[in-house]
Symmetry: C2
Subunit: 366 residues, 2 copies
Amino acid sequence: MKLPGTATITVPTLLLDEHRCRANIRKMSEKAARAGVFFRPHFKTHQSLMIGRWLREEGVSGITVSSLQMAAYFSAEWDDITVAFPVNILEMDRINLLASKIRLNILVEDTQSLSFLKAHLTSPVGYFIKIDVGYGRTGLLPDNDRKINELLALAASPNLQFKGFLAHAGHTYGCRSVAAILAIHEQSRLTMIALKKRYQSLFPDLMVSLGDTPGCSVAEDFTGIDEIRPGNFVFYDLTQARIGSNTTDEIAVALACPVVALHPERNELVVYGGGVHFSKDRMEGEPEGTVFGRVVRQTASGWGEVIPGMYLRSLSQEHGVLVAPPEELVQYQVGDIVMILPVHSCMAANAMKRYLTLEGEWIARL
Amino acid sequence: MKLPGTATITVPTLLLDEHRCRANIRKMSEKAARAGVFFRPHFKTHQSLMIGRWLREEGVSGITVSSLQMAAYFSAEWDDITVAFPVNILEMDRINLLASKIRLNILVEDTQSLSFLKAHLTSPVGYFIKIDVGYGRTGLLPDNDRKINELLALAASPNLQFKGFLAHAGHTYGCRSVAAILAIHEQSRLTMIALKKRYQSLFPDLMVSLGDTPGCSVAEDFTGIDEIRPGNFVFYDLTQARIGSNTTDEIAVALACPVVALHPERNELVVYGGGVHFSKDRMEGEPEGTVFGRVVRQTASGWGEVIPGMYLRSLSQEHGVLVAPPEELVQYQVGDIVMILPVHSCMAANAMKRYLTLEGEWIARL
C-alpha cells in the first residue's frame, strides 16, 4: 500500500500529480485560444510561483489573484496582475507600491473607495467595475447605470484607468448539472455583452471579464467576452466533479494521510489528517450524507479511481474518520498511507502550504 | 469605529484579549486545584509558547498536544508532554528524538502499533490506552478487557511505561445544555473509575485522564479522575457558548476584518475575512440558519457584547458576507474594521498563525 517514491511520507502530505495539473492547464488554455478570449487564470488556487511557470509555458501572460498579499508574492515573476477582490483601501500603501512596479488592476464598486483611491494613488492602476451577475456576493447590479455613471464620472484621474466590467458567476457552484451551469454562463455572458454595448461608445477599449471554473470548464461559447479567469481548474476537486466541471480522474491533488487507528467493528478507520489539513469544507446531500473527501486507489505511479463507499465522514482538528467497506478496510494497517481527494482543493492547498509531486519534488507556495 | 491601538490593522487580524484569556486560564486552573486533579491543558488551541507561559504562571507543569510536531515545538520550554492522538508509527524517529529529551506520553489502542514501538523505541515513553467513552472516534470500548490485557501483556518492555487510561468525551460537543454535558461527564467519569478499579491492583500508579472543554467547564465533580486536559477554554468561542461551556463575554479572540463592500439593499456588508482566516467551521440550526461568526460591539479598549442579528452568513476563500440590521449597517463604511467572534477558535487560530493583543503586541505560534 506504499507509493513508490513517497516512502518518506510520515505526516499528512498534499500530493500533486504534475501530469494531470499540466493537462488541466493545457486544456483550459487551448479552450481560451479557440474562443479568442484573453486567459487570465486565477492563481488563488495554487498560490505557487512554480505552478505559475507551468501556466506561463502554456502562454499565460496576465494573472488574477484575490489579495494584495498574493499580488505582492507573484509580482516577483508577473507584471500584469488583477486583484479580483473589492479594493481594500486600508492597504493603500501596498497598492501604491505594487502599482509603481507592475500593471495592477483592481476592483471597485463604490464611490467612497474610488474617491479614496483618486486622492491617494501615486501610480496608475487599471480598475474594473465589479458586476453582480446573480451570485449576490459583491458588485453592482448590471442595470445600475446611475451608479456606474457616478463611478465613471468620479474616476476622471490620470492614475485611474477604466478597464471594463468584471463578474464572477459563483452561483454556478450551486449547480448539479452541466445544463444548469451552461444556463448561468449564457445569462452572464449576455449580461456582460449588454453592459459592454452600453458603454463601448464612451470607452472603446473596455473589456468584459468573466470567469468561474464551472462555467469555463463546460461552456464553449464565449462570444463577446474578452477575458476569462478560472482558477480551480488547475487542480479541480470533488465539488467541481459533482457540479460537472471535471471527471474525478482530472483531479490533480490528493492528501496522503497515515492510518492511525482501525475500527472494523464500525467499518471505519482513522487517519492523521483533519480540518487543519483538508479545511472543513464539505459536500452535503451526497448519497452517504455529508462527505469531507473520497479515497482513491493507489497505483505504481500515483493514484487511480475513487473507491466506491470509502469516504471521510468527519474531520476534527487532526483526525479524519473514514468509512470503508469491509473488503477495503481489511487491506489497511496502521502506518499505511491513504490517498484522499479533497472536497475543495483551494482550501486544502491553502491549509497545506506546499505540494509534493509524484516524482518526489517539493513545490513551495505563498 | 476604529479601535485605539489597532490603527495599523489593514488585513484580517486575530485579536487576543489577554485579560479574558488569563481569566479563563485562572478559572480552569483553580477548578482543577479545587477538584484535586492534575491540570494538563491541551495546547492545540493556542499553539503558542508565549500563551503557554501564561498557563505556567497559573501552575501548569505538564501539557497535552495533538501532534508530534506540536510536541517538538513545545519541547523548547516543556519537559512533560502527552500527545493525545493515536500514535503515528511513521514518525518513529521523531518519537525517539523527543523521548530522549523530555518525558513523553503517547496513546495506543492496537497491538500492531505497540509491537512496533516495542521494537523501535530507543528511550522510555509513557503510554496511555485510549478509551472510547462514547464519542466513537478512536479508542477501545471500556469493557474490552481482552484487548486491554493483550496490550498490557505485549507492552512488557523497559521503554514502555503504562500510565493509565485516557479518554476524550468529544460527544459533549453535540450537547445543547449544561444538563446534557453533565450527564455525559458523569457517565465518562464513572466509566473511567470502573476501569481504574479493575486494573489498579496490577498497576497501583495508573491514572485516568479525561478532558473535553465542555465537561471541564461545567462539571464540578471530578472524584476518581486523576487528570483533566481541556484546551479550547483558553479562548472559548461561539460553539462552546452555544453548548453552555462559557458566556460570549468570556471569548478571548476576535477576528478584526476590513469592510470592503456595503450592500444595504440586501442588509449585508462584505468583509475581507474568509475561509482562509476563520476556517469553514459553522454552527447549523441557529435561529438565523447557518452561522460562521457573530459581530461584537467595539469598545475603547477592545470589544463588548454580541450585536443581535449581525452575523457571518457565508465564507468564500477571502470574502465574508455579514448580515446586519439596517440600524447597524448604516454605522459602517468601507475601510472600517468589524470584529467577529469565531465559531471555532482552535481552527481560526490555526488559520491565522499569530495573535495581536489589545495592547498591540504580536504573539507568535507554531
